[in-house]
């Protein structure tokens, strides 16, 4: 939920200017997830549920190290597990912390029709404001990462808030605080990018991961969660992380050209009909008028 100290730079479904845009010197915050040092302990999952006081929901065991198949409205943070068979036949366990990516250009916010249901703060956090949410689910369609989840009782959408309440008080998100291996870092986007590149270089130079790299997809303007991957050329291996995510083309088409064509057509149509009436008027003024035309 919104905090007094955070200003808003993007608002969903909003007609008019945005109050906080370019009004604040503020770091863009970023979470760095180093998948190469994640051991899949789930401390971050528990910390997320704890800090956000979410009701427990049953886990689903499917013979892997994954807690459940997908994130839920009350389970925002999930370590996705994949047992990957390498070309030489050896196995590699890939663990990726999956949560909202806090895109610089959020597809959820783009798709949302409800004024103020989704906001982006000046520090880059994308936050759902459930009080304004109407539960239409358009954010599900807009998101390229399968993040927003529907609560069928409250009829609202939920997702990771990047612990907005903690970050606004100068604390790190709960998941970061709980990580025992130090694979999670939190700071400014610039610092996290630098740290991630250093780690990727280290993996390439000293650990034999020639394709190690940083995942910060430009298709969504970069993300507020970046990954160090052993193999940055195949992000799909990490629980289906899309290699080049962007706001779906259909959503872009719907929200931009179609919207403007439609608006022009509707307004043009109204004006056209009015002008037609001014020029030609009714086909006959009164019913008696029809009869008199008949007699001509």
């Amino acid at each position: 939920m919104s905090q007094a100290t955070l200003r808003v730079q993007k608002i969903s479904g909003h007609s008019g200017t945005v109050p906080g845009r370019d009004t604040q010197r503020e770091y863009t915050v970023c979470k760095l997830v180093d998948t190469t040092t994640c051991i899949g302990c789930k401390a971050c999952e528990v910390a997320c549920v704890e800090w956000n006081d979410m009701p427990f929901s049953p886990t689903a065991f499917d013979n892997t190290y994954q807690t459940m198949p997908e994130t839920r409205w009350n389970y925002w943070n999930l370590i996705l597990f994949n047992e990957h068979e390498r070309e030489d036949g050896s196995l590699q366990w890939l663990m990726r912390k999956h949560q909202c990516m806090h895109c610089a250009e959020p597809g959820c916010l783009e798709a949302c029709p409800a004024d103020g249901a989704i906001v982006q703060y000046t520090n880059g956090i994308v936050d759902f404001q459930q009080a304004n949410c109407i539960g239409c689910g358009y954010c599900i369609t807009g998101c390229p990462f399968n993040i927003p989840k529907f609560n069928s009782v409250t009829k609202r959408m939920y997702k990771c808030s990047l612990c907005t309440d903690r970050v606004s008080e100068g604390l790190e998100p709960a998941c970061i605080k709980s990580c025992p291996t130090g694979c999670l870092h939190f700071g400014s986007k610039d610092d996290m990018k630098e740290l991630a590149e250093i780690r990727a270089k280290q993996l390439r130079d000293h650990y034999g991961y020639d394709k190690a790299g940083v995942y910060d997809p430009p298709g969504v303007g970069g993300t507020g969660v970046i990954y160090v991957l052993h193999d940055a050329t195949q992000p799909e291996l990490y629980g289906g992380l899309p290699s080049n995510p962007s706001i779906p083309l259909a959503v872009k088409f719907w929200k931009h050209p179609l919207k403007w064509i439609g608006n022009l057509a509707m307004v043009g149509g109204l004006i056209g009909l009015f002008v037609h009436y001014l020029k030609f008027g009714p086909k006959a003024r009164e019913e008696s008028d029809i009869a008199s035309k008949e007699g001509q």
């Binding site: 007609s15 798709a111 439609g262 057509a265 009714p282 006959a284």
Partner: protein
């Protein structure tokens, strides 16, 4: 024999004071169920379409209520359109005269109706309106069901969502266009048309002027030689 002393093929549709029954009670009631539900769907749909129009949802009881009712009213609209199909579909087949009618549309637009080829109970424009609402209703229902239960679509089938948002909005826009022309014709351009879908009748003169072929079917060849 009818009141005018004419031999009618369907004298039961001729009613006193030179009027013909054009729409039965069932047709009128169904028309207004479709109209009422369509107007609600259009207004709430426009509220979700543009932030500039989001206030419409507030006026209609709040955006959450609009989001809740829109699909249910949509079902009512669809049922009404289906009933409309059973009432009118066999009268809506395109005939050779309809092609002539389209070719003469310029006269129709300039209110020179005497130069139009003789239309039956429905002219070509009305037939197109009927079919656009029928096909549009099916497309809106199919895409609308996806949007209604969008969280139930698995991630692997997300392309269905992408198609649905575009189809739903695009079809709605086309139908709003049809609706605007329909309301303009019925309320403003053709005096007598609006009353006919309320009271059910039109004057003989109206029928003869706008639907001459239908007029002949009902009244028969007039004994009033011109």
């Amino acid at each position: 024999m009818n009141p005018r002393g004419m031999v009618g093929y369907h004298p039961e549709q001729l009613i006193p004071h030179d009027h013909i029954l054009r729409y039965s009670f069932k047709e009128r009631l169904n028309h207004w169920i479709a109209a009422g539900s369509f107007i609600y769907l259009m207004l709430t749909g426009l509220a979700f379409w543009s932030p500039w129009l989001f206030w419409i949802a507030a006026v209609l009881g709040g955006p959450e209520l609009s989001r809740f009712l829109h699909p249910w009213i949509g079902l009512i609209f669809f049922v009404s359109v289906c009933y409309m199909f059973t009432l009118w579909a066999n009268q809506m087949n395109f005939e050779p005269v309809d092609k002539e009618w389209w070719n003469s549309i310029g006269y129709y637009i300039r209110n020179q109706d005497e130069k139009m080829p003789p239309a039956g109970r429905y002219n070509a424009g009305q037939k197109l309106l009927f079919w656009s609402f029928f096909v549009g209703g099916i497309l809106l229902l199919a895409s609308g069901l996806v949007l209604w239960f969008t969280e139930s679509i698995p991630w692997s089938l997300r392309w269905i969502r992408y198609i649905s948002v575009v189809v739903h909005a695009g079809t709605a826009l086309l139908m709003i266009g049809s609706f605007m022309i329909h309301v303009y014709m019925g309320v403003f351009a053709e005096r007598g048309a609006f009353g006919s879908v309320i009271r059910g009748d039109v004057s003989l003169a109206f029928a003869k002027r706008y639907h001459p072929k239908w007029y002949k079917e009902i009244v028969g060849e007039s004994d009033r030689s011109k």
